[in-house]
């Protein structure tokens, strides 16, 4: 192959591989949907995953949300001060958190914490033949392993986002009112005046979509692991990278559709 054709060939292959992977993740999603409503519901497994994805992520989400709100207030204040519009800091923090930073940062943190763990756990189960053992015992691994994780991601990331939104606004309030001396009444009134319920809802819809993406990608990468310990490490890294990129790309399109 000549020098011109070789890079084009590589690019073509890479595109085809990625499209194929997206297709397989979509098929996994359809399979999850098909198994989700087939009784019996594995309620214990679902609650266990909800605890892992949701409850155990609260601390990191609270910390991320609070400091993001605080830094938004600080940055916003210096910008708005140039136009003597410091009173808009509160609404800027609230809009930034609810529409954008709450859902995106929360899902990126959950990807790093729980998405990676899903890939590592399922990957280890794959290389130690535990997934084969499920098949041999006539138990479907999608129902037992993937459905609970996807449900947990879909339900818990919006709830964590709500916590993050609240903590971000609280952090912004603390910096704005107590450090930068913005009037408390003005800070809150501008939030209630400029932030619509739809801003919050659309952020939560984003969060649910991101929860779906991170859990599906984590499960897909883990489920299709091969090659021992090295394979598990590779699957985990790929899951975090692919889920993070997918979240950021889909964020643009969701924003374009919703606002």
């Amino acid at each position: 192959m000549n020098r011109v054709a070789a890079p084009v060939d590589r690019l073509g292959r890479a595109v085809l591989e990625n499209v194929e992977e997206m297709g397989k993740i979509l098929l996994l999603f359809l399979s999850v949907l098909a198994w989700m409503f087939r009784p019996p519901l594995k309620l214990r497994n679902i609650l266990k995953q909800m605890e892992f994805v949701g409850v155990k992520s609260i601390f990191v989400v609270v910390l991320t949300g609070t400091f993001t709100g605080m830094v938004l207030a600080l940055q916003g204040y210096h910008g708005f001060k140039m136009f003597s519009a410091e009173s808009l800091v509160g609404s800027t923090v609230a809009l930034g958190m609810t529409r954008e930073l709450g859902p995106v940062l929360t899902s990126l943190m959950v990807t790093a914490r729980a998405g990676s763990a899903m890939a590592a756990e399922l990957g280890t189960m794959r290389v130690t033949e535990q997934i084969d053992a499920l098949y041999v015992m006539a138990a479907n691994p999608v129902k037992h392993l993937i459905v609970p994780r996807v449900i947990a991601g879909f339900l818990m990331v919006p709830l964590l986002t709500a916590v993050s939104d609240f903590m971000g606004i609280l952090g912004g309030y603390f910096v704005g009112v107590h450090i930068l001396n913005i009037n408390s009444g003005v800070f809150i009134r501008n939030i209630t005046r400029l932030v619509d319920l739809n801003d919050i809802y659309s952020g939560l819809v984003k969060a649910a979509t991101f929860g779906l993406i991170l859990s599906l990608v984590g499960c897909y990468k883990g489920f299709n692991t091969s090659g021992g310990a090295e394979g598990v490490g590779r699957a985990t890294t790929e899951a975090v990278v692919l889920a993070s990129i997918s979240i950021l790309v889909s964020d643009y399109f969701l924003t374009a559709i919703m606002f």
Binding site: D132, A133, V136, A138
Partner: protein, 248 residues
């Protein structure tokens, strides 16, 4: 009755099964021997439907399982139990939950009955009072015993063993071999054992089949195999580096 007919399986350019034929006798233990990486585990995965052949048939009681959908395949799999090489216990569950898993999945037994059955199966493999332990707290030999208890939880007709004695010390190897023999007799099982441990082969096997270059090149009683003059079998049983089996 398990019958493998003209099985072919390739991974990319590598032929792993190349027109393999084998009949497995019901109620007996058949040991499949062959070199490491020679396709023994692939063959086992074909028998239980974890892999599908490129061509050929896997007949279980007359049904060709290579053409079955998931639901019918699962019905066939209920006839099977399998002990994996590293036992493949679910490490997020206790020993008791592991053994109870197939019972909870496929029966409507009450919790008390499940507890009793789990204790019975663990007793059958020589274990008592380990129900609350996690798999990570067990030794290699104990994990295999628990794996066997889980494999026979539903009283299957056929049990597959993937290198049951690999990685065990000689005493534990003998203990597992005896366990295979006793379990086979007690539950009148059809057992298929994959192994390259020569001593174990002759201890547990009623019949021995040798897999070489994707085909079964010999199938007979342990005595017939010992008397064989086939240079591949002679070299394999002697563990010699001189002979037709090339070292890669």
């Amino acid at each position: 009755m398990i019958k493998l007919v003209d099985l072919h399986k390739s991974f990319r350019t590598q032929k792993v099964l190349d027109g393999l034929n084998l009949d497995i006798e019901t109620g007996k233990t058949t040991v499949i021997i062959g070199r490491s990486g020679g396709g023994k585990s692939v063959l086992l995965k074909h028998i239980i439907g974890l892999m599908r052949p490129d061509s050929g048939e896997v007949l279980i009681d007359g049904t060709d399982i290579t053409r079955l959908g998931d639901r019918d395949m699962n019905e066939i799999r209920k006839k099977f139990g399998m002990l994996f090489q590293e036992a493949a216990l679910f490490d997020s569950m206790t020993v008791g939950e592991n053994v109870a898993f197939p019972l909870r999945e496929h029966t409507h037994m009450k919790e008390e009955e499940i507890r009793q059955t789990v204790a019975d199966r663990l007793h059958a493999v020589g274990l008592t009072g380990v129900q609350e332990k996690m798999p990570s707290e067990l030794s290699g030999g104990m994990r295999k015993r628990v794996g066997l208890a889980r494999a026979i939880a539903m009283l299957p007709q056929i049990v597959l063993f993937d290198e049951p004695t690999t990685g065990l010390d000689p005493v534990m190897t003998e203990a597992i071999n005896r366990l295979i023999i006793e379990t086979q007799r007690a539950f009148n099982l059809t057992c298929i054992v994959i192994s390259h441990d020569i001593q174990s082969i002759f201890t547990v096997g009623h019949r021995i089949a040798m897999l070489y270059e994707g085909k079964i090149i010999a199938d007979g009683t342990p005595e017939e195999l010992k008397a064989s003059r086939n240079p591949v079998i002679v070299q394999f049983l002697a563990g010699s580096i001189d002979g037709p089996i090339r070292i890669m």
